[in-house]
Amino acid sequence: MADREQIENRLFQLRIQYQEQLPQRLDEIYSLWSALKAGDRTKFLQLVNCVHRLSGSGAAFGFPEITEEAGRLEQLLEASQSGRASTLPVAEIEGVINSLADRTLN
């Protein structure tokens, strides 16, 4: 077992690593969302999973605002009928994605 200082150092590195990967995760969300908006409903579950992972991890790594925004996005997606274009609140979803981007990239 590692000593306390080693553990805390590794936890710090893990937080940085998580933060560094956020833009990549956001790109994935943008890309899946674009495909879904264009009518590719096969991307719906992938998008929900991607957003779900973000909402379920952000606060644990020290980013509660990521959990909050991703949680809002997850709720909006889940309220739609499995990504059917006519049931997606596009403007609202894009607003939350942008807000998530603000929090992620700053």
Binding site: M1, R4, I7, L11, H52, G56, S57, A59, A60
Partner: protein, 228 residues
């Protein structure tokens, strides 16, 4: 205290492992059910922490496997997403001991796992004071026989506890006097005999296979039933 962790997300798995290690737990972890089962078979842990939603299997399947192979003795805590209340209810009803909601919080996760382990320690302490039909509750200073409370005085409880902890061993009268009444007690061994005689009646040994026998000029032996 050894913890086995099943979590498919690499970062969350490492994060939780580190939190647990920082609290003194020894952690072994796996990213999928197959490797988790292999790991547990090789070295069964004191506590299992499972992610409820796994890509290729489910926490429920793993929980069921643990209960089949290790019974109820191993506490199982599962992790689930916020707001997944059907999951929570289902997992608890399927035999999980507690749950953690994602995103995890270090303080809450450790507090919950520590609480689960305290309950296990208590259960084990209770179990270690079970002698056939007799259960000695050291906190309440009560003796139960097949769940029925036996009415013992404080002194009789101390005497019973001393004898049960040394069952099948000869205990001298002066040993009992010193341990139960205290070194300075100016009492005769007759006191011990009277108490033992009353205790024997109250333990209703004639209804069980236990015997509290006198060993001439030496002391007493609480005898457990012969092995069959």
């Amino acid at each position: 205290m050894r913890v086995a962790l099943l979590e498919d997300d690499d970062e969350q798995r490492e994060l939780l492992s580190l939190w647990l290690e920082s609290a003194g737990y020894q952690v072994q972890s796996a990213p999928d059910a197959a490797r988790f089962q292999q790991m547990v078979r090789k070295s069964p842990p004191d506590l299992a922490v499972l992610d409820w939603n796994l890509p290729e299997s489910s926490g429920e399947e793993v929980l069921s496997w643990l209960r089949t192979h290790y019974g109820l003795k191993m506490p199982v805590v599962f992790c689930t997403a916020r707001g997944a209340s059907p999951d929570l209810i289902h997992a608890l009803e399927s035999g999980a001991d507690d749950y953690l909601v994602k995103p995890l919080s270090r303080g809450e996760a450790l507090a919950r796992l520590n609480a689960v382990m305290r309950r296990v320690d208590y259960r084990e302490a209770q179990a270690s004071n079970q002698f056939g039909p007799y259960l000695l509750d050291l906190q309440r200073k009560q003796v139960y026989m097949d769940g029925e409370t036996l009415s013992l005085t404080q002194r009789e409880f101390d005497l019973a506890n001393y004898l049960f902890q040394r069952h099948d061993t000869l205990v001298r009268r002066d040993q009992l006097l010193s341990a139960v009444w205290g070194q300075s007690a100016e009492l005769t061994t007759r006191t011990v005999d009277n108490h033992v005689s009353r205790l024997r009646r109250k333990l209703r040994t004639e209804e069980t296979d236990w015997r509290l026998t006198s060993v001439y000029q030496q002391g007493y032996r609480l005898e457990s039933p012969p092995a069959t």
